[in-house]
Symmetry: C2
Subunit: 338 residues, 2 copies
């Protein structure tokens, strides 16, 4: 593999000049530039980014930490993060913690060793100690769709979970539901708590809050399925259901179907996320998050952090919107496909 030295020799200049041209730093005369360029072409030179990183103290790589890339929410995040990152000259290292705190900690150490320029944290484990250490070292980290407590001082990009939940529940109430259940996400997970709060607030305000209509889920369709069956068993007359995310809404729909409940006739259902899953997306009323924008915003914030630019807000909360479809009463014949 040809090196910068080979190029400099062939071009009859010094490595410093080649480096200047490469990085567009400092002056390089027309003729020097010409001969360097042709030397590069002739040698098929390609700068060694590893050496650049070592000397220049920047790896031009950021890490994306997710709990499970199979959860369709995260490919959405990954897509937008990758896009924005690539556009800004960063590459993305995919870290799937697999919901395993040990693996996550392993990754934090790896990221430190690999001198990542920053981390987009789309994971939501409790209190990763590796993360605390990184933060103490002023490692640039931006959290997406999650807000940590004060022990973990970092930027966060989130959606308006509380407001979205209220939108969803209000819509159910306005559609005539009086017994509105909630299939909530895991305890201690920020978004789950926020959505639960929104649900509660709205119903409290309407005077129809009933704590026993809440079922515990873990953001997975499987758990949602069984939790919904149990909920139906306890409260056969439930007529509305706000699921903490679309995946759980899918599990709930399956359970409702098997329990012989008509949707939206007997029970109306609203999800959260606005994922674009085949079949599901045709039917499910949901609260849509601007996931792409969240990913892109996170990268932008991270890039500013890395560049040492002043950060105006430490928390960015993006708006959500209600999408009304078949599971709350509109004809399910409507198609998303053009």
């Amino acid at each position: 593999m040809p090196t910068i030295r080979d190029v400099s020799k062939l071009a009859g200049v010094s490595v410093a000049t080649v480096s200047r041209l490469l990085n567009k730093s400092g002056y390089v005369s027309q003729e020097a530039e010409k001969s360097i360029l042709s030397a590069m072409r002739e040698l098929d030179y390609s700068p060694n980014e590893v050496a650049r990183s070592l000397a220049g103290k920047k790896s031009h790589t950021i890490a994306l930490m997710v709990p499970d890339i199979l959860n369709p929410y995260f490919p959405r995040i990954a897509k937008s993060v990758e896009r924005e990152a690539e556009a800004r000259g960063y590459n993305v290292l995919l870290c799937d913690s697999d919901h395993d705190p040990a693996k996550e900690e392993r990754y934090f150490e790896t990221l430190r060793r690999k001198k990542m320029d920053g981390i987009i944290l789309a994971s939501y484990s409790a209190r990763p100690s590796g993360l605390r250490e990184l933060l103490e070292r002023d490692f640039p980290v931006v959290s997406v769709d999650n807000v940590f407590d004060a022990d973990y001082p970092m930027l966060a990009v989130t959606a308006d979970n509380r407001g979205g939940a209220r939108l969803a529940v209000r819509h159910l109430a306005e559609s005539g539901c009086r017994r509105i259940g909630h299939l909530r996400g895991p305890r201690g997970v920020y978004t789950a708590e926020e959505r639960y709060e929104g649900y509660k607030e709205e119903l409290l305000q309407s005077g129809i809050f009933e704590p026993d209509l809440i079922a515990q889920g873990d953001y997975s369709a499987e758990k949602a399925y069984s939790a919904t069956l149990a909920l139906l068993d306890r409260h056969p007359r439930i007529d509305g259901l706000f699921a903490g995310n679309d995946l759980m809404a899918a599990g709930a729909l399956q359970a409702l179907r098997e329990a012989g409940r008509q949707v939206p006739g007997d029970v109306k259902v609203v999800g959260f996320d606005g994922l674009d899953m085949p079949l599901l997306a045709q039917e499910l009323s949901t609260v849509s998050q601007p996931i792409d924008e969240m990913g892109a915003t996170a990268v932008r914030q991270l890039a500013d952090l890395i560049d040492g630019k002043p950060i105006e807000r430490t928390e960015r909360r993006l708006g959500v919107s209600l999408i009304v479809r078949g599971t709350t009463g509109v004809s399910s014949q409507d198609s998303l496909y053009p």
Copy 2:
């Protein structure tokens, strides 16, 4: 940040000894080990992987190139690749080409600069010139779910697409279908051609092959939706449909529903992939690929390539299996959820 030199000083040994311990290469005495370990702890030392890469000629990172991480097939690949890679000490750089040849080429150049140890290619663009260059330089590359022609000599891990297609079509025929259509994948894409061939072979053998029952899709649900509507228009009496992948099957199901066709009553449908999408996975009969195994196998092959181990087979073809569910006649009440 403390360096290996700081550790060696504090431990009262040379950097070489520390390096030996770090890499478990060469002998290190008990006492040296002890003092080094405590020095590391005291300094909170973390080896600089960038420097290791430069000196040691290995980045311990592989790239995963996908055309679109939003297509649910690719998170499956990503998951298994990441898992196997992490277990073997490699990290994974996510490269989403976005179906854009220019972006893909940009990535090939980047991967060369970043000294990736290898590439898992789950992309399927025609003839990337950047890839040819990498191959010429003996860059380790393993292709998943795709086989390139002889100009691109590399290992490949695929599923038995042809056999799977025959399984699907035979199942439709045995279920009583006589006019079996095919919603095929994009021209020139290896898996699409293979599945098409299998479809054709099986029907030719049964004596019910009819070329006009073939509709062109592009592996997306949207295109499948419109192509299916057009197909139904041309051939209202179609009674079976083999979709080239599950995403297209989803689009087809939507079209059939809107066209007023009963599934599986009027038309039976089989997909390909065995994706685990909410709702869809409850109903769709499909040919299941061992995606996890394909990803893991690809990483294993790649690791062997990187380590210079002898490769026994340049092409690995994994078996598939038919999963019969609601869209070919079994009660759609069956649930995948426990």
